[in-house]
């Protein structure tokens, strides 16, 4: 039952990505909404201070054929295999107990798969996002989300992934995926989420 659901999700995901690739190929590449160094009109606005580090380029978010070739993907079969694994990588979160940043047993196998994926495609860089449920207070949750992202980061580093491939951020309780006010929703929101930079 679960496997079936997952398969459907993967197929839908693949279709979605294929659709994106087609539909986006003609569009100008756009950056994230609040990219670093975004200058306001007339010079008054946001600026990156001199001397601040460049950070990891999170890219345009659009997966082009060119980017696939850079990952060593040249055949349709390789592409199918990559997209399948990519979907799993980005869709499968790891979850945490309330007010805890400890890696649970059920998260370890997921992280192992993520490490294998990152080893298979060694030029990929990712961001690990830490999230919390709504019960904690806003600012403390930002700190807790960071600890969750860091736990996942540390686990992947221990599995041999280069630290500089993985950026971290915490959204605290500001970006819930489940909006209910019950344990089922809270459990889904206590997560580390993984995003690939393209």
């Amino acid at each position: 039952m679960r496997e079936g659901k997952r398969l459907v999700a993967v197929i839908i995901g693949m279709l979605f990505v294929c659709g994106l690739m087609i539909s986006c190929s003609k569009k100008p590449v756009q950056g994230p909404p609040m990219g670093p160094g975004l200058a306001g009109p007339g010079g008054a606005g946001y600026g990156t201070a001199p001397g601040s580090e460049a950070g990891t380029d999170i890219g345009s978010g659009v997966l082009t054929d060119e980017k696939l070739r850079a990952l060593g993907i040249t055949t349709e079969e390789q592409k199918r295999e990559f997209l399948k694994q990519k979907e799993a990588f980005e869709n499968e979160d790891i979850h945490f107990d309330f007010d805890s940043a400890s890696i649970r047993e059920d998260a370890k196998s997921i992280l192992l798969k993520k490490a294998e994926f990152l080893k298979k495609y060694p030029t990929l860089a990712i961001t690990i996002e830490g999230h919390c449920d709504e019960r904690g207070t806003s600012e403390y949750n930002l700190a807790l989300g960071e600890r969750r992202a860091h736990s996942a980061w540390q686990y992947l580093v221990n599995l041999g992934i280069a630290p500089n491939r993985m950026q971290m951020i915490s959204y605290g309780k500001e970006r819930p995926i489940a909006t209910g006010h019950d344990e089922a929703s809270w459990a889904k929101n206590r997560r580390a989420h993984f995003v690939i930079h393209f």
Partner: protein, 441 residues
């Protein structure tokens, strides 16, 4: 902000004290101020009849009266009596001690009285405000103001501030602002609003996600955590020019707080190769030193003591979050919350006598205050909803915080003893993480 300052400065220049000597005689050097924090304190009943129009337009009388009443109510010191019980026609009521029938007010239960009169001439206004002791049958304070009609509320704010100084020895929160985060959908931006809930103003129209606003001691800047793609920045907003500078400190930021004495910001940051720590950062974005460090555990929500020498902060080193004080000069550290297993968001009072925080009790977060020396604790708010993120008014009489008591999150203000809850923000979205400004000089 600049407009406010200009108006205020101009106004101060125009104020004429015509009863300074009288005030001095009434309240000598041995004046004992009213301690409104005393548990036995009873609000002072005050009558505020309508303003007398001495010439020009009479259209602003209601506005003046409601401003005066609201200011007095917000102070937490006065109980404003229904003035209709006293008079039908304020035009016929005198404004000086000689003209006033104090017995009438005394009978109505008033111990104090404010009489106002004004005249307008085009865009200009002349206003006279008098504050009387009904029992002693004398004027305690009298001021005349000349200025623009549009500045009429400032005149009243200023007069009520003078009354508070006279009665309690310290001015009120007139002219202060409260910065906060407004969440609408996925967009979280910094706003500020006047102390009385007027003039909500968007400060960071370009932000997607901003958290943890904190005023600089001179009120010129608001520091906050700005989300930039997949990174967090220490963002410093110049409130006057609305420009923002970003500084990336090489890690994930969870909270920032200005030192109340100087241009130094405590930043909770966690870098990949290190542990979460609280560092000091100057206005150029340079890290000046580590403030609180060591161990894998969370260290966030730094709140400076008024002298800028100690930091209250949250750590989860014993499991759930608790509040600790770190002495920057000695490096000593101690825990101050021992009740409950989820205590966060410390905020040190302007006089240093209390630290407000949010504690989880009975499944809900509520505002508590704890004495940093004795660790004795008092619960300020209660009920079946969540109150979080307290911040003190500059006079220490009030606490603003976020609460979902109206269904959504909004900023509320209570007196320190938990009474007189007042909704500050009436706008779409959720308002969280308030930071009360200093008094603007």
């Amino acid at each position: 902000m600049k407009r406010w300052l200009k108006q205020f400065t101009a106004l101060v220049g125009m104020v004429l004290t015509f009863a300074g000597i009288l005030v001095w005689q009434a309240y000598g050097a041995d004046r004992v101020y009213l301690d409104i924090t005393d548990p036995s304190f009873r609000k002072l009943p005050i009558a505020v009849p309508g303003f007398r129009v001495d010439g020009g337009s009479s259209g602003i009388g209601d506005d003046l009266l409601s401003t005066a009443k609201k200011d007095l109510q917000i102070s937490g010191i006065f109980q404003v009596l229904d003035s209709r019980a006293f008079f039908s026609d304020p035009q016929k009521l005198g404004v000086t001690a000689a003209e006033i029938d104090f017995g009438q007010f005394k009978q109505g239960g008033a111990e104090y009285l404010i009489r106002g009169s004004y005249s307008t001439d085009g865009q200009n206004i002349h206003m006279e405000l008098r504050f009387f002791d009904v029992v002693g049958r004398k004027m305690l304070l009298g001021k005349a103001y000349d200025g623009k009609v549009q500045d009429r509320k400032l005149m009243i704010h200023r007069f009520v501030d003078e009354i508070l100084k006279l009665i309690t020895g310290e001015g009120g929160v007139f002219g202060t602002k409260i910065a906060f985060v407004n969440k609408e959908g996925k967009v979280s931006r910094i706003y500020m609003i006047d102390f009385d809930g007027s003039n909500p103003t968007l400060l960071t129209p370009r932000e997607e996600l901003a958290m943890s606003p904190s005023w600089s001691p001179d009120g010129r800047f608001i520091a906050y955590v700005g989300f930039r793609g997949n990174r967090t920045a220490l963002s410093i907003l110049d409130v006057g020019s609305r420009t923002v500078r970003d500084f990336f400190l090489g890690g994930v930021l969870s909270s920032v707080r200005f030192n109340p004495q100087r241009d130094l910001i405590a930043v909770s940051v966690s870098r990949p190769d290190g542990n979460p720590e609280i560092v000091g950062v100057d206005l150029q974005g340079s890290i000046t030193g580590k403030l609180v460090s060591g161990g894998w555990n969370i260290k966030t929500s730094p709140s400076w003591s008024p002298d800028g020498r100690k930091i209250a902060y949250v750590s989860n080193e014993t499991g759930g979050p608790q509040i600790y004080i770190y002495d920057v000069s000695t490096g000593s550290r101690r825990r101050i919350t021992f009740s409950g297993d989820y205590n966060t968001s410390p905020s040190w009072s302007p006089k240093g006598d209390w630290i407000a925080y949010s504690g989880l009790v009975g499944g809900h977060h509520h505002i508590f205050i704890v004495n940093p020396e004795t660790t004795s604790t008092m619960q300020v708010t209660n009920g079946g909803y969540n109150d979080e993120a307290p911040t003190w008014s500059p006079d220490g009489r009030m606490i603003a915080f976020q609460s979902n008591r109206s269904g959504r999150n909004a900023i509320w203000v209570v007196l320190r003893n938990g009474t007189d809850a007042r909704l500050l923000t009436e706008m779409p979205g959720d308002q969280i993480l308030p930071s009360w400004s200093p008094r603007f000089q």
